[in-house]
Amino acid sequence: MATSSAISTTASAAPQPSVQSGLWSWLTTVDHKRIGLLYLYTALFYLLVGGLEALLIRTQLARPNLSVVSAEMYNQLFTMHGTTMVFLVVMPLSAAFFNYLIPLQIGARDVAFPRLNAFSYWVYALGGLFITLPIFFGLAPNGGWFGYAPLSGPTYGGGYNMDFWVLGLQILGISSLAAAFNFITTIINMRAPGMTLMRMPMFTWMSFVVQFLIVLAFPVITAALFFLQFDRFFGTNFYQVQAGGDPLLWQHLFWVFGHPEVYILVLPAFGLVSEVLPTHSRKPLFGYNVMAFSGMMIGFLGFGVWAHHMFAVGMGPVADSIFAVTTMLIGIPTGVKIFNWIATMYGGSLRFPTSMKFAIGLIAMFTIGGISGVMHSSPPSDLQQTDTYFIVAHFHYVLYGGAIMGIFAGIYHYFPKITGRLMNERLGSWHFWLNFIGLNLTFFPMHFSGMLGMPRRIYTYDAGQGWDLFNMISTVGTYLLLVAGLIFAYNFFSSRKRGAVAGNDPWGGATLEWSIPSPPPEYNFAQIPEVTSRYPMWDLKAPDRTASLEHVHPSADDIAAAHAVPVHEETERRSAKELGIAIPFSTIRPFMVALGIIIMFSGLIVLHVGEFPLAMAAMLGGSAFMVGSLYAWLTSPLE
């Protein structure tokens, strides 16, 4: 088979079924790999949901003056589509990889706070239901994923729709923040001996940057949402225009969060691609230091550009100019990444399994989205673009062509590690090409319809405006994307059972996760490895190739302290008990704390319905349940 690597030698037996199974084991697991899988499955499910929402949107817009869905339903659909894709699909898909990969890549047996990790997942899973289910009752949020006040406030956004949004995002924020503290600690403190920061795999690096973005951006939306929540539930005046409230306060707070958020969405994908490209080029990542640094720069600059979403609000020429220039600057570190990726491939020995196709697809497609992003950064011109389909084209090229393509690259690349089996390459190829064509068919025409005057967030448009053709093509493209998605789903599920057995290292990867069996044993590493370079597996398997690259041994002290052993390939699979490795106990408590939080928040909705006693019961009961479970959690031993 064209894709199996020449250097993959260890032919291991078919993956053993996980010892633990059954619903209860999933509810109580604190194993970062199983939590990663939970994230993966849940987020893929929501990808289908968000995709179907998009499908309805596109069907409604296929031709002028259609009424496939009502105006009100359309507004709920696009709000939920945006919210779902951002908070329930791309962030959790990234989280799936954070969970699964970071400990493996840094040579750790788990994350720093395994139970907090389970908690993050359960808050996400339950919060996702909280915000998604209302659509079946026509009560889904309808104020846009940006929830601009005062439309999202009590005066103009009455009803329960936006209640679910405000509370839902608040809940999801808890999940992301908890996970971010966890991963920052994990990356700082649980790296294997010798794994210095500048030896970390690039995916871990980008994840590290992303965690800081989360830690700094989410509190801002938390505050903004608290204001909105207080306005809606307690009658405060933050965004109440009658009392002098300023709608721009919401906008600024939202985008101070919102812009870093888009890098939260794309940097993990960049990280994944930075793993895939070197592997299949058989060359180290070009300009590792600069790649790490540009990631940090993107993150840092990302906090100084938020008002480029607000050029139409009339901030005055000075502010417009400042934000225009800072926005343009972000193109520079991003460009560095693009060129370094190409340089990684240049002179390499390229092969093109599906993951590589998606990775290259990301470079090609993200560049288009990036360039249109730079086009928005010029305010006089952006005033013709903003809130039109040109913007929709931009962000789908960066989100679908960037984040989603990168994540697909990651899924194909790591599927054998996760399941022990390879995905079908033929179907993968079909998936890629349909996806690639569908993506361009769907989103490229939006550049035209946008510049030809079609506004965003409209459920209908009149005939004769010159937009019909472009909308039709977009809609056709979307159906192609659905077909591609279904092929992927089939491939995914069937390969899990019937795919070719992968072995430890099917691709010839350079990093630690390829040294252990697939799927990895629950303890990950039988012995914590000692790392001497960025490419430990290449050092081990193809030392002649990496001979010219940097190798410095870490201090003997550290290694002694950790009883580390040089990196080697682990071919045996034993139980943690046999090896004497302490494994954290499974526990239901993180789930219960998460449940308590959801009940507590639901109380607020009940309050809005006007059932005061029931609301109080839910809120107090929920908090009591949460505090009780938390206490039980904190007082029980970890392992």
């Binding site: 700094l216 008002a307 502010a319 302290a561």
Partner: protein, 106 residues
């Protein structure tokens, strides 16, 4: 094991009662001065009022962080984890004041 080692690593560097005392005294004195300033109309009216107060509270902020939170003596990782966000937060705050300064209320 590492907990103990961590702890041992920097425990001897912790500030002592002598410093704690001085820090407390400074906090007290500055606070008294701040409140006193509030009651001097001429000072309140002067251009120096706001900057002076902000500087004084920044000094208080800094000495608590450096000594009570022993950031001055601790691992530099902590300093980075704190100052980075602090700077971003401060810049954002200043940007907000700038962006909202020219309000035109209808």
């Amino acid at each position: 094991m590492s907990t103990d080692r961590t702890h041992a690593d920097h425990a001897h560097e912790h500030p002592t009662w002598k410093q704690y005392k001085w820090v407390a005294l400074w906090l007290f004195v500055i606070t008294v001065f701040e409140v006193w300033a509030y009651y001097v109309p001429a000072f309140v009216a002067s251009k120096a009022f706001v900057p002076t107060l902000i500087i004084m509270s920044a000094v208080k902020f800094t000495i608590v962080v450096l000594f009570y939170m022993h950031l001055k003596y601790d691992h530099q990782m902590f300093r980075r984890l704190f100052t980075g966000p602090l700077i971003i937060a401060a810049c954002t705050l200043v940007a907000f004041l700038f962006l909202f300064s020219k309000v035109r209320i209808g």
